[in-house]
């Protein structure tokens, strides 16, 4: 179950090695699009606008049904069809069929990148991806709106229960709520961010990882001098002319931002259920492709979580875990996301009785809890030595046994309520029960970052990440 989507994604995106010649000749004359007849109006408009904007000529041919399109898949660079689930069966020597892009709610596009041999992408394949991105992006969406195929305004109900009217398309997103920034990447709209907060991306490791996922992120992170939950430079923000503001329900300066007349979506985002509804909500606000990706994420999350739970929940006795914060004596309360993650991973949080946010405790309390294992987070200077090199912590059996583990982080720390946290649960389960669960953090990380960040993570990178 868990692997089904994974294999799908790897198939879709990983390049198949080798240098055999392409199956069908392209000879550089331009992109060939094979589309469903019923989609003629938008496809023609998209193709015209796209070839006008770039130097690429686009030839469109039509077929009556999706099956017919699929039958002739090998002849085209881009397929446009209403059946987005079926993978075109093309026997490549090298090359790949991309994931489905969704320019309209019932219309998918797939790129047949058959010229991608020997590593670097062929310019024509790149142009094909660019066309698919164009159709699903704001420009393509605008064309569909002009044709009356998509609504000009979308209404969503945010997580505080407020109804928000979002004019379409959304081209420029400002996300002062760092967690929501990762929702945006998750629904494939990272390139629309103009200003955003990030989690732990100011330290070298975090910045390096984030740079790999989005080379442009530092510009976005520094676009507004002050932009966080407590404060924002509203004028600098206004100068960026965002179309949509993604905020936390606890953002302090929204009244002032409201004067700009911007649509604001507010998130609560501190539980798995809220994570999924946040993705759905954001997807609905950003157009059909984002909505499709949000649904994909939610399915992935549910299936992956079900797989984890099936393996971890029967385990007895449960490993008792202490989740510490930026200071070894600062521990996570029962209300925090980390506790939910530990429980999903088959552990039991010893500090679940505490309420609120992070709590300061003393070592005597830790001795009473007597955890079997200790987790520390990948931020705030938390490190293993703070436990293992301390004469005081040496009295705790878990430290003596060396069961002190630091959570990984990639784009964001895996213990924060971002989409990546599902990998954090897998990592926890694998760390707590190496012999009892058959979960592979590294391969799942490759799948995840391929699917939701369009990032091809190498095996080595994944292994290092999951250590």
């Amino acid at each position: 179950m868990l692997k089904r989507i994974g294999v799908w994604a790897v198939l879709a995106i990983l390049l198949v090695g080798g240098a055999a010649p392409a199956i069908h000749a392209q000879s550089g004359e331009g992109l060939r699009v094979l589309a469903l007849e019923s989609a003629q109006a938008p496809v023609e408009a998209w193709a015209a606008a796209f070839s006008e904007a770039g130097d690429v000529s686009v030839t469109v041919e039509y077929a009556p049904t999706s099956d017919a399109v699929l039958d002739r898949a090998a002849e085209a660079n881009v397929l446009i069809l209403d059946d987005v689930e079926t993978e075109p069966a093309i026997a490549f020597d090298c090359g790949f069929v991309s994931r489905a892009y969704l320019p309209l709610p019932d219309l998918g596009a797939r790129v047949v990148a058959s010229n991608s041999c020997g590593g670097a992408m062929d310019p024509l394949d790149e142009a094909a991806v660019a066309l698919a991105t164009f159709m699903t992006g704001p420009d393509g969406q605008q064309i569909a709106i002009d044709l009356g195929l998509l609504p000009a305004v979308v209404e969503v109900v945010d997580q505080t229960g407020a109804t928000v009217s979002v004019p379409q398309p959304v081209r420029r997103i400002a996300s002062p709520y760092s967690v929501a920034t990762y929702y945006v990447y998750g629904v494939g709209a990272g390139d629309r961010l103009v200003a955003a907060g990030y989690l732990g991306a100011r330290d070298p490791v975090g910045a390096d990882a984030m740079r790999r996922l989005d080379p442009n992120f530092e510009t976005v992170m520094n676009a507004v001098s002050t932009l966080n939950q407590q404060e924002a430079n509203i004028e600098e923000l206004a100068a960026l002319q965002p179309d949509l503001l993604l905020a936390s329900a606890r953002t302090d300066w929204l009244d002032a931002a409201g004067e700009l007349g911007l649509p604001v979506i507010r998130f609560e985002g501190e539980s798995p259920e809220l994570l999924k509804s946040a993705m759905t909500l954001l997807g609905a606000a950003l157009g059909p492709d984002a909505a499709h990706r949000a649904a994909l994420f939610n399915t992935y999350y549910d299936e992956t979580l079900a797989e984890i739970l099936a393996q971890t929940q029967p385990i007895e006795p449960r490993t008792r875990v202490l989740f510490t914060g930026t200071n070894p004596l600062r521990v996570a309360s029962g209300a925090m996301y980390q506790t939910t993650m530990i429980e999903a991973a088959g552990g039991e949080s010893v500090s679940a009785e505490l309420s609120g946010f992070w709590n300061d405790v003393n070592l005597e309390q830790v001795a009473i809890w007597n955890p079997d294992a200790i987790f520390y987070p990948p931020y705030g200077g938390a490190n293993r030595e703070a436990f293992t090199e301390s004469a005081e912590w040496a009295i705790i059996p878990a430290v003596e046994a060396g069961r002190v583990y630091g959570l990984p982080k990639m784009s964001a720390p895996w213990d924060t309520p971002v989409p990546d946290s599902i990998l954090g649960i897998i990592w926890m389960a694998e760390t707590l029960y190496p012999d009892q669960v058959a979960l592979d953090c590294a391969s799942e990380a490759i799948t995840f970052y391929n699917l939701f960040y369009d990032y091809a993570m190498s095996e080595d990178e994944a292994q290092e990440l999951c250590q």
């Binding site: 004596l329 992070w358 003393n362 309390q365 001795a367």
Partner: protein, 353 residues
């Protein structure tokens, strides 16, 4: 009528004097049994005989000789003992420097923070938490910036050639506010995910991180300072009457005040660098002590040391035993200290001197 009063007055004075004298000795002795008692208290239940055995082992051979596992021994000697010692030293420190400052500034509303030492130390700690993060550097920078703030107050005030004490108070308040603003600036640029909470927690004070390694330096500066202040306790009486009286009695008030300020600043900076910002001790305890033993610094100085030690020891014991999660000390001292001060002000008939 007058004759009656005259006859009774010595009697009243004698009774009050006897009562205050008895209280004075009681207060001086109080820290010892209390420390012994609180070492048996903690979240982790350890039978009294094990606590005693651990302490005896620690004092005699320095390691666990009983057949019991090391955990109890380690908790008593590595966690409770350093923390109790630190709480008492810091409490005594803050209380006695508060007394000294109230005496030399002849103002019942000041404590040792009047020259900005706490705000300076807070800034130093925030800077270290933002940039360096090791607990040694946090302590170091807190200590250094505590001293820097006071030096800044002192030398800036000398640029003005009017009423030195008043100017020093004013400049001290300004310097304190200046460093408080700088701390706000650091909090403003701190990462809300990690460094900001660390700074906020530090500024609220707490002794959860105290280990044996913190004790020698804290003890050296605290005892050194306390011995000095104990030595000048009579002179504090004179200073609290004003410069003219001091000069008339052959003292150099300016030099003496400077020495007391330097000493108190070192002590406060040390206390703050270990325990964070713990407010109200330096204000509440001197007033409490005056109510109990009278305004004479000969008794007031030792009493405030003992009472300060007892007060912070009790607060810290509550903080570490009542709930699984600790209440920040600076919050606790305020919540307990302010109502206490209000009661003292109501009861107190002896005046602040």
């Amino acid at each position: 009528m007058i004759r009656t009063l005259n006859r009774r007055l010595p009697g009243i004075w004698a009774t009050a004097e006897r009562r205050q004298s008895a209280l004075f000795w009681l207060i001086l002795l109080l820290p010892v049994p209390l420390a012994i008692y609180t070492i048996g208290l903690g979240r982790y239940a350890i039978p009294t005989e094990d606590v005693v055995r651990a302490l005896v082992d620690y004092a005699t051979v320095g390691e666990n000789t009983s057949t019991q596992p090391d955990l109890a021994y380690n908790i008593v000697t590595r966690i409770r003992l350093p923390r109790i010692v630190a709480a008492m030293l810091i409490g005594a420190n803050l209380a006695v420097t508060g007394t000294a400052f109230q005496g030399i500034f002849r103002n019942p509303l000041v404590d040792s923070n009047i020259l900005g030492v706490t705000s300076g130390a807070g800034f130093g700690a925030a800077l270290a938490l933002l940039l360096l993060r090791s607990s040694f550097e946090v302590q170091m920078l807190a200590f250094v910036f505590g001293l820097v703030a006071v030096m800044l107050s002192y030398f800036t005030s000398r640029l003005y050639h009017t009423a030195p004490l008043l100017v020093l108070t004013l400049v001290g308040i300004l310097v304190g506010s200046f460093f408080a603003s700088l701390t706000s600036l650091l909090k403003y640029v701190a990462d809300p995910l990690d460094t900001l909470p660390a700074i906020t927690y530090w500024l609220m004070g707490g002794l959860t991180d105290v280990t044996r390694g913190d004790i020698p330096m804290l003890a050296a500066i605290s005892f050194g300072g306390m011995i000095f202040l104990w030595g000048v306790r009579w002179r504090l009486n004179v200073l609290s009457m004003g410069d003219n009286e001091a000069l008339a009695l052959g003292l150099n008030p300016t030099r003496l005040k400077l020495m007391i300020i330097v000493c108190s600043t070192l002590m406060t900076a040390m206390a703050v660098s270990v325990g964070g910002v713990i407010g109200w001790v330096g204000l509440v305890i001197p007033h409490a002590a005056r109510t109990l033993v009278g305004p004479d610094h000969q008794r007031l100085v030792p009493s405030t040391m003992a009472l300060g030690a007892v007060f912070l020891l009790l607060i810290d014991t509550m903080s570490r035993t009542l709930l699984p999660a600790e209440v920040p000390l600076g919050v606790f001292t305020g919540v307990v200290g302010v109502p206490l001060l209000l009661v003292i002000l109501r009861v107190n008939k002896t005046g602040w001197r």
